[in-house]
């Protein structure tokens, strides 16, 4: 029975991903006194892209077409780790955070390869910058998750969520705040949101993720966009699950099943609003300030690990 729930949870997450991105862009538009596109625009965009032709540069190799496929598969597998409706997820029960982090790295690895295969300067530029950002984000991501894992005495994500559920909100120590801040900063860098990278623009001075996918079109671009949306919602769901899981049913009950989606939706909306507020409040950082941004995340995660280990 739990398998069915986990699969349903995963499908829900995949389906809701474009909606989350739509909500974020709509909220940002409202904050900037613009009407903005409707919340359902990403779905129509995906439908449009799926119907278009897939343009491939003549000099490209099969890796160019393989990259979006591997990216999507890896991101979906990573999303399968993240609990949303109840304490555990399809692969979350036994899979641990190291696998989650490195699955995201697998997706990124092939995306960068796809970008360099395009043979255009933009692809190379995007790939080179993405390599820098992901290299610097790797350490704080893992250290942040390690801090939580040490506190919860387990490496599996389901175990961590179950441990946090058992704590009272007010008993959570400052350490969790540090870990949360570090992981939030890393999430922003990973999903390419404003302070690190601007998802909306094609201005070559600033774009990282967009530069890599400039060569893609049609279904390939659709899979990449969808994978990006899944990654955003998965990271948001992970933050919620690890630091604000209250509302998820601990044991299996029909009432819990009705309440959980509503609570989850409210929390996701709150995080989306926070993100929109942050994005319209801040301008994009210069390229060589990103290392300081991620350096801050790294310092926070190191402190988190040290304090968790001390307070054991």
């Amino acid at each position: 029975m739990t398998y069915a729930l986990d699969v349903l949870q995963l499908l829900l997450l995949l389906a809701a991903a474009p909606l989350v991105r739509g909500v974020v862009s709509c909220l940002k538009a409202r904050l900037q006194n613009r009407h903005g596109a409707s919340v359902w625009r990403p779905y129509s965009e995906l439908r449009k892209l799926f119907s278009k032709e897939d343009l491939v540069p003549p000099t490209a190799s099969p890796v160019f077409r393989l990259a979006p496929v591997v990216l999507f598969a890896a991101t979906v597998a990573a999303a399968a780790f993240v609990p949303a409706l109840h304490g555990s997820a399809l692969l979350g029960a036994t899979g641990d955070f190291i696998l989650l982090a490195y699955l995201l790295a697998l997706g990124r690895f092939f995306l960068i390869l796809g970008a360099t295969d395009g043979g255009s300067p933009f692809g190379g530029m995007g790939a080179s910058r993405e390599a820098l950002v992901s290299t610097l984000a790797e350490a704080p991501l893992l250290l942040g998750l390690t801090a939580v894992a040490i506190a919860a005495h387990t490496a599996t994500i389901a175990g961590m969520v179950r441990w946090t559920l058992a704590q009272q909100f007010f008993h959570l120590s400052a350490v969790h705040a540090l870990a949360f801040a570090a992981l939030a900063l890393v999430a922003i860098a990973e999903t390419g949101r404003v302070p690190v990278d601007n998802p909306a623009t094609h201005l070559e001075l600033t774009m990282i993720h967009e530069a890599m996918v400039l060569e893609y079109s049609g279904p390939s671009l659709a899979w990449i966009e969808w994978a990006g949306a899944i990654k955003l919602s998965a990271m948001m769901a992970l933050l919620i699950a690890l630091f604000m899981p209250w509302g998820m049913p601990v044991s299996f009950s029909v009432a819990g099943l009705v309440v959980a989606p509503v609570v989850f939706a409210l929390k996701m909306a709150a995080v989306a609003a926070g993100l929109a507020l942050l994005e319209s409040g801040m301008a994009k950082l210069r390229m060589y300030l990103v290392p300081d941004f991620l350096g801050m995340a790294c310092a926070l995660s190191i402190l988190a690990v040290v304090f968790t280990a001390m307070m054991r």
Binding site: V56, V63, A77, G119, L132, T146, A149, I150
Partner: protein, 657 residues
Amino acid sequence: MAHILFNSLLVILLALPAVTLLASPFKALRHLSPALLMIGLVAGAVAAARSLCHPCLIASDLSSITPLPFALALDRLSAYFLLLICVVGAPVALFSFSYVERHYTGRRRDWLWALLPLFLLSMVVVVTASTAFAFLFGWELMTLFSAGLILIDGDDSQRRQKLFTYLLMMHAGAAAVVGAFFMFAPHAAGLDFASIRVAAGLMPAGVRTAVFLLAFIGFGTKAGIVPLHVWLPKAHPIAPSPVSALMSGVMLKTAIYGFVRFGFDFLGTGPAWWGYLVLAAGALSGVLGVLYALAEHDIKRLLAYSSVENIGVIYLGLGAALVFTANHAPGWAALALMGALLHSLNHALFKSLLFLGAGALADATHTLDIEELGGLFNRMRTTGTLLLIACCSIAGLPLFNGFVGEWLTFQSFLGGATLAASAPAIVLPLMAGVLALIGGLAAACFVNLYGVAFLGRPRSVEAGDAVEVPLAMRAGMALLAAACVVIGIAPAIILRPLSAIVQDLIPGASLPEGALSIARFVPWLAAMVIAIMLGVALVRRVTRLTATWACGSPALNSRMQYTSTAFTSPIRKVFAQAYRPDRTLSVEPAEQPYFPASISYHSIRTVHFEQALYRPAVNTIVAAANRLRKLQTGNIQVYLLYMFLALVLLLLFMRLA
């Protein structure tokens, strides 16, 4: 059974040089020695696999013949490393089938086929030795034969200078290893491993620390730990590709074997600072190794530096294991040691695959500089896919074997938090961050290597008309790639024997419960990812080949692509402290900087280890020698004076003694 197979391996490897030299005139027997080598190595692999399950103690004992006791044994640890040698050796031999034919002729070809088996034999003797004499016999010969193989490729003065550094450092390292072995002499009945184990228990703490430090320095020099790594990027690139595959993949592992044999088998538990020293060396080597690899254009130098990085990762695992044994947590120590041993095997597999790939590239495009390659995937499809697997494995991505070793090491770092003492509880989890940084940098380095070399447009004429390498070379590489993927997807086949080995080495070690969960979990994960990929690939799509929009300029050409320097420049800017290159920018004429006739920019990455550490040492020796040389003045009266002074001094000494 394993006993007979192992001896047959030894006999074949010993007989091969004679067979090669005898068979060299006959055209028909050209492939005799490579075939024999393959058979021998396969026999060795089977022997190793069998004795992994039930180790047979004395495999072959030549003490009655040799002047000092010389015995070989196959306990579990030796069997594991013998398996490593044979599993990597066989594909390399298969690869060399055609590589050697195409690159070497006549005497050089015979010398190579004569020295290669001896090189493998010396490594087999090192890992299976069970007496100090046998170990050191193999240890010194290993360096000599590798030097011989390097000389086959040519002996101009630049190569000789590098070879000189290599041999001198290896000899200094060997002196430390000799010291480490002989420190047991006063306490041990004989210098065979059994009595050494007994003596290790009775030794005072001071001597044990001295032995550990000597072993650390001796094996660290051979493994290529950062302060002692200076020879590695010099020696590996100048060897023929199959030989550098064996040197980087297997020879470095004999040093790891030696250090594990000393650190865990002989000395057992020691003070915690041993572990921290090894951790520090591992972290330093890991980070600096990959940073130097990022800055390289020559494939072989890049791979050599990346070997330094992977040895650093292995030392991280060993360091964690030493810290755990010091804090009486044998379970976690076993896990960390397992991670280190597994990473040794994984590194042997993908690093030799990468070096063979480099050999294939050199064979196809006659250049090793990735700045001149590009677009090779379309021209060399099999080599391209195989090296894609290799790059994914070395970057430590899931579904490939690099990840499994690093995952075990990560788990052991998490285990650090369960220790009572506060120091390891803080240090070990932080090491997870260091390992993550190393992993990230390695991924960047190898995505750069693969992307620039294989994808995009060819940057030179040779790259343009590159042709796929012959079947034997591809088959050799395919075997290694298959091994990488199999271990990546189904790690259970290697984790079970490994847990038996670590239980042998660390007494009373029961692995923590979730330790081997990856063995059950990864196959399902692989199935799910592959299923999704098939699903996505099956979605019907119309693809059209069309030139991409080039912002209005007529057409994209290969110079518009990102080169390796450009790709890695952001990372190198961020980690500039590690490089400190000395850049020289000269503008002519100097007085009008804004209307230059010519501008030249030159940047050499100063190898500051060599300048700071080794150059002064060599200079002091030469200076001392010159001062001593002045004593030999040539004047007979001064010589007479030396004699009379010596006599007077000795008489005074007699008076006092």
